[in-house]
Amino acid sequence: MTWQDRIGRLLASSGRQTAVILATMLSLFPVYFMVVSSFKTKNEYIANKWGLPTSLNWGNFNTALAGEKFFQRFANSTILTVGAVACSLIIACLAAYAFARMDFPGKRTLFNLILSLMVIPPVVMVVPMFIAMVNWKLINTYQGTILIYVGLLLPFSIYLMTNFFQTIPREIIDAARIDGCNSLGVFWRIMMPLSAPAVVTLVVVNALWVWNELLIALIFMQKDELKTLMVGIAALRSRNYVDIPATMAGLFIATIPIVVVYLVAQKYFIRGLTSGAVK
């Protein structure tokens, strides 16, 4: 290798490294900004917007937790997330079992139809759903909103679970059948325990989606004591006077669950979100 080659290679690899580092800094900057601002006092923030705080000032977290019904909103988001994820998981697994391991007329068409619902934007359903929910007296209730979330989560959930169930060898099922298991027994004792990785994937992806969701929560949980964390956060923008460091502390707390789950279960996130495109 000549020295020109070497220099060329060095330049190429350092160029690559530089590009990736710049992209990483850009993608982390808002998070960095949120974290450092949440430890600054108001005056410090005005004087020093993007630098590190001179000292760790925990007062903002107290302000954030005390104000704006923070705990209630946090609880509302949690109830909706847990409810919607649990219901959609059970319903989707039952349906996926039928799709993956049973035969019935119209199976393929029905499956494709359900798949195609994945791309329908929720905003399309919002107006008629609102009218229906008012009629059914489900507006401003956890059940009503969870119902909508479950419906919206089902197409993807059924798709993911069906694909996974199909990888479970038929021999295992046949063996269980011979041992006297009925189909519900096969579902509960064989399919579900073997599907733990797919279930984890589905739970993290769906939980993330519900936790972050804004539009449905905004329209179907309008009562102040039912508002979710994201709706509360979105409302902060229109304030005339905002205590930015305290707001950042609030955002920080709202983001922690997501980041923690992501760092712990990263491979499930990536697997879940890229399934359907990468085989």
Binding site: F33, K49, R108, I114, V123, V126, Q166, R237, G276, K279
Partner: protein, 291 residues
């Protein structure tokens, strides 16, 4: 034997009922609502009046223009994601760490990042503060407060958040390409550009296609959160999008019929993409679930 026949439907029933309630019923209702006008609490059939009204409404036309402008994000996202995915695939030092951090924006709630970005882009925000600091004060613009820059600023945030998905998608696909393909090309003396052009891009064509379709749908009908949190459609409707228009008509001005007509149009557009998606899937056979 009789039971065997109805058995699958017992397993499917909860899912089908939920889907009918959340998708089926609203779509039927939507069609009816979009063809009616309500006055004094009475709904009357009105044909296509709502639709005619829409195409005379400047705000709606502006919303459509803005949604179409957002499409500019798509090629940018594809190229940026592709380049970064290739760099990571070439195993630069710390690629796993970079993958984790570059994917992070995609997972953060839009409400949260939108608010953070609006503090960054404020006239007295972090960005302008920084620009003044390094002597580039002439570039310190009112990023979100001017009709000229609000939409491009919004586009930056959308790209910032969505590009991570592309990176991870492309990287996952690249890692399943057989190494020999790259090795063979290298032995044949292909340079870096040729390698990308003749191996990487063709191998990734299906995921690139998928990411493009998903991103186009996003730009046309999944950007409500960004707009709602960062600009509220302003200043002066310069960032109005169709989804926000539905929300405002339906829930602020109580014009459920107009809102339904717009929803119908959105549904139609997504319908076209569903059709395209199914055809693509049919061709590539990549998502065949029943084999």
């Amino acid at each position: 034997m009789r039971f065997r026949r109805i058995e699958p439907w017992l397993y499917l029933a909860p899912a089908l009922i939920t889907i009918l309630l959340v998708f089926g019923y609203p779509i039927v209702r939507l069609t009816i609502l979009s063809l009616q006008r309500t006055s004094g609490g009475v709904a009357r059939f009105a044909g296509l009046t709502n639709y005619q009204f829409l195409f005379k409404d400047d705000v709606f036309l502006q919303a459509i223009r803005n949604n179409l402008t957002l499409l500019i994000c798509v090629p940018i996202m594809v190229v940026v994601a592709l380049v970064l995915a290739v760099f990571l695939f070439e195993r630069i030092r710390g690629w796993k760490f970079y993958r984790t951090t570059l994917f992070l924006p995609y997972l953060l709630p839009i409400a949260v990042v939108g608010l953070i970005f609006s503090y960054i882009f404020q006239l007295s925000g972090v960005l302008n503060d920084f620009l003044n600091h390094i002597g580039m004060g002439w570039l310190a613009l009112d990023w979100l407060g001017s009709t000229k820059y609000a939409l491009p600023t919004l586009m930056f945030v959308i790209i910032w958040k969505e590009v991570g998905f592309g990176i991870v998608l492309f990287l996952a696909r690249l890692m399943s390409v057989e190494e020999e393909l790259f090795d063979a090309a290298k032995i044949d003396g292909a340079n870096w550009w040729q390698l990308q052009w003749y191996i990487t891009v063709p191998q990734l064509s299906t995921v690139i296609e998928f990411f493009t379709v998903v991103s186009v749908i996003t730009m046309l009908s999944w950007v409500f959160n960004y707009v709602y949190v960062m600009t509220g459609g302003g200043p002066g409707n310069s960032t109005m999008v169709t989804e926000l228009y539905v929300y405002l008509q339906g829930f602020r001005y109580n014009q459920m019929n107009t809102a339904s007509a717009v929803s119908m149009l959105l549904l139609l557009v997504t319908g076209i993409f569903i059709f395209l998606e199914l055809r693509l899937r049919g061709q590539s056979g990549s998502a065949e679930a029943f084999e």
